[in-house]
């Protein structure tokens, strides 16, 4: 039986999302397909799968990304679909541990990629927020107060999320310094 779920995660909740998907898999609901806001689960497949997803470096339809997905498949992972530039994979547990990045250097690089995928949007929203407030003030225009507040809230949320990703990265870097 197939089960469909709609759920939305912020970009900086990627660890929470992965945890949730793997908890679902442990319950016998294995992710089988992903597209916008939709997770499809399959309980016909064996329970023992590990789910991983990652933000790709290049656009999903670019030859680079296609090559990368092919490589993952060659390594025994099954490609389940994508949301924007995030690609989802699963791999049977019996074929060994499934991680995408295994050393500090590549993990830190990856976290940088995730952080920079949202940080510019945060700044852009903060900028629009302040700009709208300036217009509202100068021309006594109420709609601009409304849009300004909206932009500021969104901008601050994204900034807060980026700081969270930065913290994960900092902790990793501190940990890696122990081995240098």
């Amino acid at each position: 039986m197939k089960k469909e779920m709609h759920k939305l995660f912020w970009v900086w909740e990627f660890q929470k999302e992965e945890k949730w998907l793997n908890e679902m898999a442990a319950k016998g609901l294995v992710l089988s397909h992903v597209h916008y806001l939709t997770y499809e689960f399959d309980d016909a497949s064996p329970k023992d799968y590990v789910i991983r997803f990652e933000l790709l470096k290049n656009a999903i339809n670019s030859p680079e990304s296609q090559k990368y997905i092919e490589f993952m498949e060659e390594m025994g992972a099954e490609y389940l679909g994508h949301v924007l530039n995030w690609a989802y994979f699963r791999k049977p547990k019996e074929s060994g541990a499934f991680e995408i990045y295994s050393d500090y250097e590549s993990r830190v690089k990856y976290l940088n990629r995730v952080m920079w995928s949202v940080l510019p949007l945060g700044f852009l929203n903060l900028y629009f927020g302040v700009y709208n407030f300036w217009i509202a003030n100068a021309f006594d225009n109420t709609p601009n107060y409304f849009f300004g507040t909206l932009s500021l809230i969104l901008g601050l949320t994204i900034l807060w999320g980026s700081i969270n990703i930065y913290r994960i990265k900092r902790n990793l870097q501190k940990e890696s310094e122990l081995f240098e």
Partner: protein, 78 residues
């Protein structure tokens, strides 16, 4: 990937994304080259270039030096 794990008795696990990055970097640096690209089985094989062997030899030399220094300093201690 399995070979790396076996060689290191399970200590080192090379994940796919990390391996992909490493292969690309080594190829860009000219240390390895694509040997065969079987489209049917989608299996890609690489071979080590002369430059790659040279780099590998230098790295082994560097590691040997580290090992010798470590053993020497440990010997002085006890």
């Amino acid at each position: 990937m399995q070979n790396v794990e076996k060689l290191s008795a399970g200590r080192v696990r090379l994940a796919a994304g990390t391996l992909y990055g490493a292969l690309n970097t080594m190829q860009e640096k000219g240390w390895i080259a694509v040997y065969s690209n079987d489209i049917e089985s989608r299996k890609k094989e690489y071979l080590i270039t002369d430059e790659g062997i040279q780099i590998l030899e230098t790295e082994i030399k560097r590691l040997k030096e580290l090992l010798e220094n470590g053993e020497m300093l440990l010997g002085e201690q006890s």
